[in-house]
Amino acid sequence: MGERRSPSFYWLLALFVLFVVFLYGPMLTIIILSFQGPEGGLTFPMTGFSLHWFSKLWNDGLPNVDIWSSFGRSARLGAIVMALTVLLSLMAGLAYRKGFVGSNALFYVVIASLIMPSIVVSLGIGLEFRIFDDLIKRYAPAFIADGYDTGMGLYTSTLGAHLTWTLPFGLLIMFAIFNRFDPRFEEAARDLGATPWQILRHVLLPIIGPSVIGIGLFGFTLSWDEIARTSQAVGYLNTLPLELQGQTTTVTTPVIYALGTITTAVSLAVIFVALAAILMLRQRQGAHGSDAGRGMV
């Protein structure tokens, strides 16, 4: 390739810049509008610059909704989904390296889950728990059936629904890692007498660490924002995005933008912590790339 840029470069550069404006512009708009003055409305112009709508959100919440409880619920659920996504994807990734009966079939199931319309998955999980509830109420012994209401809930049906969405990303990332992984690192460790646990702890995890953090990033952020699969798989208590979606038509003040800004801030904080951690691990790997000739460390 020559030094001079072709005309197509400038066209595509312009398109790329426009695309980035298109991606971030609207988000920036509601962040700005969430600092709207107390008399201001849902659109420009700004009547002032204030924290009015944030303090209103903090003190009064949203009409008819306990927004801070759902905020806490979504945060806890996101943390659990993140932990399980990392753990289960990592274990499955290791299993795929060894091979097991039905590995191909499971792979296709996972891919199917990724591209399955979410409304279908959600409806199915909802039906499953309804039928389960009916069976319990009808056939279970009295000490279980009495007072039994439903098995649906945040840490049963909703958690499961989220995992069907986050685990495919986790597993695909594991595949991408191990496709590029050099098995000689492990062989060297094994030849030196390391146990399987030591290999995992001291060889494998340090090398794939950055990608594992990436899996965690997907786990939390996808759960934190999930609506479609959650919709029919929640019990009595809604998650934050579901409440937010319900409020889009009823709330007519910038309070909804304030909530949007806070939700986005949580996502961005998680993203930047994760990216920073990945960068840090990469740099440490670069610094400690080889300890040849240094003797026992």
Partner: protein, 300 residues
């Protein structure tokens, strides 16, 4: 002597993969199976009745044939809804494909420094990790009746009255889909483009091919796997969507996903399940057609 990989001596593979497999059996395979079963069940106002009937499928398209074949042919509501969904999906697919390919091409071929490439790629990816609903709501102050765009248009005397079709319309729905899901095209196409051996492009140029000829005869065929994977993502998401169509369409536009969601809201589970099965069959047909073109497993 050792055989196989290093951790053979401890946990067998099937035990390590078991938790993940259980999640997909309990929360994916069984629910799908139950959806298929319930789509064949009867129902009354109050409950689901587990006896087999074709009622839900027949009622889904009730009167459609009569109306189509009548002296003044017309589409029934169900067919209209499916056609609307297909039309929106096709439009979104075409736009995201062209836009996604152009962006991926720029990132893969025109950005020369790896560091810059990573930063620009992340710039495209970060919004994907933020909330979809917020990203939809954020169009309201721009597209609304008193939104920024209408204010500008009126002020510049391009229009006398605010344009109504910007928000809560087909246009808004398609715009939001493009906004949300172009990334699903960019990532797989970028992945395919990065695997293209650069010497092939030089060879094409040396052999006298023009830029367009290189694009259509070398780059596009080699980018096919990424294009197919991206297309599957975008089409399946848009076909089954009810959130974006609901919020951006002002709850006025009917899509298949929205129809299913409404039926569930009315606790009509068997007809909802029947539509879910029909939707699934449609989506699978589309995917099957697309995968004729490529072996996905080779692309990871």
């Amino acid at each position: 002597m050792h055989s196989g990989s290093a951790t053979d001596r401890t946990v067998p593979g099937w035990a390590q993969v078991l938790p993940l497999a259980v999640v997909f059996v309990v929360f994916f395979i069984v629910p799908l199976g139950l959806t298929a079963v319930v789509s064949l069940w009867n129902y009354s106002e109050y409950e689901i009745l587990p006896d087999v009937t074709a009622r839900n499928y027949l009622e889904a398209f009730e009167g459609c044939a009569d109306r189509l074949l009548s002296s003044s042919p017309a589409l029934c509501t169900t067919l209209k809804t499916y056609l609307t969904t297909l039309r929106i999906s096709a439009t979104v697919w075409l736009i995201t494909l062209i836009l996604g390919f152009a962006i991926a091409y720029f990132l893969a071929f025109h950005v020369r420094l790896l560091g810059v490439q990573i930063v620009l790629f992340l710039l495209c990816t970060i919004p994907f990790w933020t909330s979809n609903v917020i990203r939809m709501i954020s169009w309201i102050p721009l597209l609304g009746r008193n939104g920024l765009i209408n204010q500008t248009l009126v002020k510049l005397h391009i229009v006398n009255q605010p344009v109504e079709w910007l928000l809560f319309s087909d246009f808004a729905v398609i715009l939001a889909f493009v906004h949300l899901y172009t990334l699903f095209m960019i990532v797989p196409i970028f992945n395919s483009l990065m695997r293209i051996d650069r010497s092939l492009l030089e060879a094409a140029t040396d052999a006298g091919a023009s830029g367009w000829q290189t694009l259509s005869n070398v780059v596009l065929p080699l980018a096919k796997p990424g294009i197919v994977i991206g297309s599957i993502f975008v089409l399946t998401i848009v076909m089954g969507d009810f959130v974006t169509v609901g919020v951006m369409g002002g709850q006025q536009i009917a899509s298949v996903g929205k129809m299913i969601n409404t039926q569930i809201g009315a606790l009509q589970f068997p007809p909802a399940a029947a539509h879910a099965v029909i939707l699934l069959a449609t989506v699978l047909l589309i995917i099957w057609c697309l995968t004729r073109l490529v072996d996905i497993r080779k692309e990871l």
